[in-house]
């Protein structure tokens, strides 16, 4: 597949929390329609990288460009960026005091000031797509973990983001619920969404990715096409990391 247009560019990104570097000189590009899977050992900085990309963490140096525009320290700018970048976290973070539909509508109605009626129709379509239309009026506590994650995905999708970030969205789920969430993400990938996915599901990574980025101790140690990366990893670190998934 050929990707032409660069959607996101990260250049020489450095980040620390005050006790040693967490990300060092991270540079990569994401093209429109591309699905990139970031893998790496625990603590290597995957979550931090995603959080930097939508401004939940301040970066130390380097730069982030979205649609060719640099996003820096300007708070108002970040709010704009966040509407173009949807994020789903590991721990299903719905708002517990709101029904599913209210959770989903908060962004489009309060942030994007879209008409509630239209947004609701769209929300229903999206809920239908993830098989949860009947849970529209339910509260998060009445949903399973997998259902919550699917709602969280809809909550991000309805903002019509240009880029979706997924941070180990299945890591906290019971095994039998992992599939339903991954299926939704596969659907999105097929539909041409641009996605940056952090996951420990190697089979899924291989199936969904256009490109793999292997992060190790805050640096990009290796990047490549999924087949090449999984079958013939070039670096020793990657070999060892992949070995931990074999029995």
């Amino acid at each position: 597949m050929d990707f032409e247009e660069v959607l996101l560019e990260v250049r020489h990104l450095h980040k620390d929390y005050g006790n040693g570097p967490v990300l060092e000189d991270v540079s990569f590009q994401v093209h429109k329609g591309e699905v990139i899977v970031i893998i790496g050992p625990s603590g290597c900085g995957k979550s931090t990288l995603l959080r930097c990309i939508n401004g939940l963490e301040e970066i130390v140096s380097g730069g982030i460009w979205l649609d060719g525009e640099a996003v820096g320290k300007d708070k108002a700018k970040w709010r704009e960026v966040r509407q173009k970048v949807g994020m789903v976290f590991q721990n299903y973070d719905l708002f517990p005091h709101m029904t599913v539909i209210d959770n989903i509508l908060l962004g489009p109605v309060k942030v994007q000031k879209r008409e509630k009626k239209k947004a609701e129709e769209e929300a229903e379509k999206l809920l239908e797509r993830v098989g949860l239309l009947d849970k529209k009026k339910a509260y998060p506590r009445q949903l399973s973990g997998g259902q919550k994650q699917r709602v969280a995905i809809v909550q991000a999708l309805i903002m019509k983001p240009e880029l979706m970030l997924f941070d180990e969205v299945t890591a906290a789920l019971d095994p039998e619920m992992v599939r339903e969430v991954l299926d939704v993400m596969l659907e999105l990938a097929k539909g041409g969404s641009t996605m940056l996915i952090v996951t420990h599901e190697m089979q899924f990574a291989r199936a969904v990715a256009d490109r793999i980025i292997f992060l190790d101790e805050g640096r990009i140690a290796e990047t490549g096409l999924p087949e090449a990366f999984f079958d013939q990893p070039k670096t020793e670190r990657a070999c060892r990391f992949l070995d931990t998934f074999l029995f």
Partner: protein, 223 residues
């Protein structure tokens, strides 16, 4: 005649006087509770700030008010203010002031607790959706904090209503004062008046506070 002690309740307008006293008690408590709610909410929000000076000051205030018996505070304000500054507050005003000082401290601590109990990722999800800080407070944090806070605030109000009985000691004519007057007046005719009057007060307080407690318990269970 002994078994007719209960008649003291219905002699003249005795019962009415007790009710009137109760009404003053409730008025003082409600005024103080309302003010405490407003100031306490503000104090609680301030207490969640990262600023260490603000934190230290509010902490000292909270501890001071808690350690001090309310009775002492009441005397300090009612007699002390007059002595020290020549400010003359009425008994009721002093009572409202003292209970507001106390309620604000307690309420502030409750609000602070409710606010910090909202997990950090709730702020983050809101931020990631593009909500601004005020929107996050308004749509995400406050509704959840209020849910947790409501039963606690109601319990605090019942505690206030009960504690207001102390104001008798600075001469505010509320239910306890009315009781003493009635008992005094009937010392010889109805020797066991005290029993009946205080018994009546027991039930009066009970019927005021009980529904409020029930409400608080129900709200607590509803969560």
């Amino acid at each position: 005649m002994q078994d007719l002690g209960i008649r003291v309740l219905f002699m003249g307008n005795n019962f009415l006087r007790l009710l009137l006293g109760l009404w003053i008690t409730i008025k003082i408590s409600l005024a103080a509770a309302g003010l405490s709610l407003v100031f306490g909410t503000f104090l609680g929000m301030v207490m969640t700030l990262e600023n260490s000076v603000v934190r230290a000051v509010s902490r000292v205030y909270l501890e001071f008010i808690r350690i001090m018996p309310q009775l002492v505070l009441l005397f300090l304000v009612y007699f002390g203010l007059t002595k020290a500054f020549g400010v003359n507050l009425s008994g009721q005003a002093s009572a409202v002031l003292v209970f507001t000082l106390w309620g604000t401290a307690e309420m502030g601590d409750l609000v602070r607790g409710a606010l910090v109990s909202i997990p950090r990722h709730q702020y983050e999800t809101g931020t990631a959706l593009g909500l601004g800080p005020l929107q996050i407070y308004w749509y995400v944090i406050i509704p959840q904090a209020v849910q947790r806070l409501l039963p606690l605030a109601i319990n605090l109000t019942t505690r206030m209503i009960k504690t207001t009985s102390l104001v008798v000691l600075i001469g505010v004519v509320e239910v306890m004062k009315a009781a003493q007057q009635i008992i005094e007046a009937n010392r010889y005719t109805v020797p066991d008046a005290a029993l009946w009057i205080y018994g009546a007060i027991f039930f009066l307080y009970f019927f005021v506070c009980w529904p409020i407690s029930l409400l608080a318990a129900r709200l607590e269970r509803a969560q």
